[in-house]
């Protein structure tokens, strides 16, 4: 009532002005945030393509048949390839998968089918999650003290494979656990009601239902270990020559890349980049295959 006739429109004008300013400020901060977020996305993509482009442009010149057949050359020498390193990487990765997968599937099955609400189950799941992102160099040191030091300090391909298996293990445990829990309970109940013992339900019903997911987990683990360098440095070490002996040091692509990329010799650097190109292609193809496998078999549950 105290407001006089002339003050009212004035105040109204002030309010509108205030609202206008507020509106403009909100629009402005929104526009700034959107621009920054687009810039962040562009930043991420630029670096992805930059890294891929560097790998391709520097590595493509070294891709040849000899890269896969010839052993690693001495410095300054012409020719040579990464044959023994590819072979060694393959042997150790396959061995790591062979060791890690059954153990991982078994532990993952226990977590999803038997652990229930047990405390031990929670602890194992927690520890597994930590192991999943633990620094790989730590696992290398573990295998070093566990195997290499016990065998009188002799590096071996077996120790390298074991170190990689410790990286495979948590990945497979996690995916097996998750994928088995996605299998509908009705399938378990239907099988159990027919009088099928639990272990047969798991191996013959649940594993079939979850097979695509478990294979995805193994593929992701393979993608991860094929580029692992740190744990191999003091387990499998490296070897200039062809070696098929599991108890001896063995070459691997990432370790050779580490040695060669840091060297001053151009021929070695070229080999390192060619190895990087092959490795990246391999890893990206495997990751894409794993994603495709998972997407194709995804159960629409909502």
């Amino acid at each position: 009532m105290a407001v006089s006739g002339s003050a009212r429109p004035q105040r109204q004008a002030a309010t509108t002005q205030f609202a206008e300013r507020l509106y403009r400020r909100r629009r402005l901060s929104n526009a700034i945030a959107l621009t920054l977020s687009c810039a962040a996305a562009a930043f991420g993509l630029i670096f992805l393509f930059w890294i891929l482009w560097t790998t391709v442009s520097k590595g493509i010149g070294g891709i040849s048949w000899a890269l896969f057949t010839q052993p690693t050359p001495p410095p300054m020498a012409e020719g040579g390839g990464l044959g023994n390193a590819f072979f060694g990487s393959m042997v150790m990765c396959v061995l790591a998968i062979v060791i890690g997968t059954p153990l991982g599937i078994a532990a993952g099955t226990w977590l999803s089918e038997y652990a229930g609400a047990r405390k031990l189950g929670t602890v194992v799941r927690f520890v597994n999650d930590i192991l999943l992102s633990a620094p790989s160099i730590v696992l290398g040191l573990f295998v070093y003290t566990l195997v290499v030091a016990q065998m009188g300090g002799s590096f071996s391909a077996l120790a390298g494979a074991l170190a990689l298996a410790f990286i495979v293990l948590p990945v497979v445990v996690r995916t097996t656990d998750e994928m088995l829990r996605l299998v509908p309970t009705q399938m378990r109940e239907a099988a159990l009601s027919l009088g099928v013992p639990q272990w047969k339900v798991i191996t013959q019903v649940l594993y079939r239902g979850a097979s695509a997911g478990i294979v995805t987990g193994v593929l992701l683990a393979l993608a991860r270990i094929s580029g692992e360098t740190a744990p191999l440095l003091f387990t499998a070490f490296g070897n200039q020559y062809w070696s098929t002996d599991l108890m001896r040091p063995m070459a691997s692509v990432p370790v050779v890349m580490y040695q060669y990329a840091g060297s001053p010799y151009e021929s070695w650097q070229l080999l390192a980049w060619s190895g990087a190109l092959v490795l990246t292609t391999f890893v990206l193809l495997i990751s894409l295959a794993a994603r495709a496998l998972l997407l194709r078999n995804r159960v629409p549950n909502d």
């Binding site: 909100r26 945030a33 959107l34 977020s37 962040a40 996305a41 991420g44 993509l45 890294i51 560097t54 991982g104 078994a106 532990a107 099955t109 226990w110 089918e113 652990a115 194992v124 927690f126 520890v127 999650d129 930590i130 192991l131 992102s133 633990a134 620094p135 790989s136 160099i137 730590v138 696992l139 040191l141 573990f142 003290t145 566990l146 410790f166 445990v173 013992p197 272990w199 798991i202 993608a223 991860r224 580029g227 692992e228 360098t229 740190a230 440095l233 070490f237 890349m257 580490y258 990329a261 840091g262 390192a272 980049w273 990087a276 490795l279 990246t280 890893v283 990206l284 990751s287 994603r291």
Partner: protein, 319 residues
Amino acid sequence: MAHALATTPVRSRKDRRNDALFQYLLAGAAILVLIALTGAALSMLWGGREALLSQGWTFFFSTEWNPVENRYGALVPIYGTLVTALLALLLAVPVSFGIAFFLTEVAPVWLRGPIGTAVELLAGIPSIIYGMWGLFVLVPMMTEYVTPWLNDTLGSLPVIGVMFQGPPLGIGYLTAGFVLAIMVIPFICSIMREVFLTVPNRLKESAYALGCTRWEVVKDIVLPYTRTAVVGGIFLGLGRALGETMAVAFVIGNTVRFSPSLLEPGTTIAALIANDFAEATDTYRSALLLLGFVLFIVTFFVLAIARLMLSRIARKEGN
């Protein structure tokens, strides 16, 4: 009929025995996961006992790292590990948040899938490739442009200036931090994106209906709802950055010498172990194992915090 009745108990007994056997087998494998982690910790502590006994607590507080005279003070690698990881987070957290914001609210729907995939592929590239890229591409650029520029601008400031003065070597803490940032962006970003997607649509849509802008929805609805999980994701990235070896080993310079400048070469725990372990002899090897133990304990706590925070949002989700 009589025959069937007679065989049933035998069969069920066999089934029960097989079931029990199967369960023990699986439980054994699960226990192995526990053993792996504790074994890793204990074996490094055991391997490092020699260094711990001879150096005592000075191991953690001395900056003198002298393998020739058997004196080991781990402060420099510990400092390097923390500094590079923090530098990485300083860059990676805002960028990851920006990308996650972009992928959940800003980008048109058809673009979200491909860009999300691309970012996740970036996470799959082996860390040694980042290291090589850092050494061959980033280091020359740092030498040529960034280091002189930093020297001229930030280097002349009073207090923080000393952090940005240094020779144009290109290698050092800053370069390592940058490479690490590029490496952890995909990790942090994909977790942020995942947790942003758990925000119930009706909350966001209510806010939009009230006239909120996209930024306001993210700032006032999405972030408060997911705060703990976002911090958990950041800690997960920190765990990665602390323990990363190959990407750092190429660009850090591997010098165990304390320097306040971010442009000087230094070292981190992981890089030092990777470089020296294979050639090290007894006490030196023991000191490196003890360093590995320190790294393990630090990452263990960081990752444990991360997981606890992430599990809280999973509970909110109801699974």
